[in-house]
């Protein structure tokens, strides 16, 4: 895949709109670093078997923006995206849950792990444990990193101001 990922294949465009909860964990998984996902996968009490519906692959996705958040849409540029789709094995019929992983960058294993956890998190049996043991800590770590960065930037903040003159 060396062209732009068609819109129809992005997870948001799939017929079933993902729930807010799923959006939340997919975002946390995509922003996590691979090492913590790998550790969480290793620490699972039982790792399910799985197969690739779509082999992990690297491609480009067009990032679009709006000037000021409200203006005309414009193409900001393309970014590298790794994606994977897996189906975990459940039961003898093999009809397991399908998980999607879309991750910025070129880390195929990260995309695969994100897809695996996405599949597990859709399963009611695994969700409470994984949310508590994986997603919440990931979100906290991300929030801390972000807060630390904001503090570092705030230290060098310069306040610009303009005197408002009356018209007289």
């Amino acid at each position: 895949m060396n062209s732009t990922v068609p819109d129809s294949q992005s997870p948001a465009a799939l017929p079933a709109q993902p729930s807010d909860a799923r959006r939340r964990w997919m975002a946390a998984l995509a922003r996590a670093d691979r090492a913590s996902l790998e550790a969480a996968w290793r620490d699972l009490p039982e790792r399910p078997g799985y197969r690739h519906l779509r082999q992990p692959e690297i491609g480009l996705a067009m990032v679009r923006g709006r000037m000021g958040g409200t203006g005309q849409r414009f193409n900001l540029g393309e970014m590298t995206v790794a994606r994977a789709t897996v189906r975990i094995d459940q039961g003898p019929d093999g009809a397991g849950t399908v998980g999607f992983g879309y991750v910025a960058g070129r880390d195929l294993r990260h995309a695969e792990l994100a897809a695996l956890f996405d599949a597990l998190l859709q399963d009611d049996a695994h969700r409470p444990m994984l949310m508590a043991a994986l997603i919440v800590p990931l979100e906290r770590a991300a929030a801390e990193t972000r807060a630390a960065r904001e503090r570092a930037i705030q230290a060098s903040r310069v306040e610009f101001f303009t005197m408002v003159r009356s018209r007289e």
């Binding site: 068609p6 129809s8 799939l14 079933a16 690739h52 519906l53 082999q55 189906r87 849950t97 399908v98």
Partner: protein, 199 residues
């Protein structure tokens, strides 16, 4: 919907190239029986060859028409290729037919224009059997470019009116549709330049 997804090629580049090569050979040597040797779990009800051709040739720019019988395979094909589905046969670039008995008239599909005959539809028709195993089928005797003298191809499962439809399609040359017949892992090409002489 997720339960219906079937896996794509395990080796997307290699498998798509092998399939493309087979399609090229099939259309340049019409009626020649080819066998795809791939491991692929095709989405029901498609056979291996039909699924491999669809996965190799379809993308977001190729509107796809499918007959009611092959509708169950659409979630998988849409997921892997992103091809848009169209309801009107004449708007499709590719058509998938899993039940040839209900094949619409070939004239219903886009035959291209005299300026751009290449912008025509390609039909992938899954028949019951092709080649030596097609006992009880029809023996098509083919003549035309890419065929030294005559070539015969045994097909089971094509509707009785197909040869007549085909002559009309052939007569529109350079316009017309191209057909790829598939049965399981086998395929044979029937480009518009080929003439069917029924035995």
């Amino acid at each position: 919907m997720n339960d219906q997804l079937s896996p794509g090629f395990a080796d997307p580049v290699g498998a798509a190239q092998a399939t493309f090569r087979a399609v090229l050979t099939a259309l340049s040597e019409p009626g020649k029986l080819l066998e795809l040797e791939l491991t692929l779990e095709p989405p029901a009800p498609l056979g291996l060859a039909a699924a491999a051709i669809a996965l190799s040739l379809l993308d977001g720019d190729t509107p796809l028409w499918c007959d009611p019988a092959s509708r169950n395979a659409m979630p998988s094909l849409r997921f892997h290729t992103g091809a848009p589905l169209v309801e009107a046969p004449e708007r499709a670039r590719f058509a998938l037919i899993a039940d040839p008995a209900l094949l619409p008239s070939l004239a219903a599909f886009d035959a291209g224009s005299d300026e751009y005959p290449d912008r025509s539809a390609t039909l992938i028709i899954e028949v019951a059997a092709l080649g030596p195993s097609a006992t009880g089928g029809t023996e098509l005797v083919l003549r035309g470019p890419g065929i030294p003298e005559r070539r015969s191809l045994a097909v089971r499962g094509l509707p009785a009116g197909f040869p007549a439809e085909w002559q009309a399609n052939h007569a529109r040359f350079p316009r017309g549709v191209d057909v790829i017949l598939t049965a399981g892992g086998r395929l044979a090409g029937l480009p518009r330049s080929t003439l069917i002489e029924e035995l």
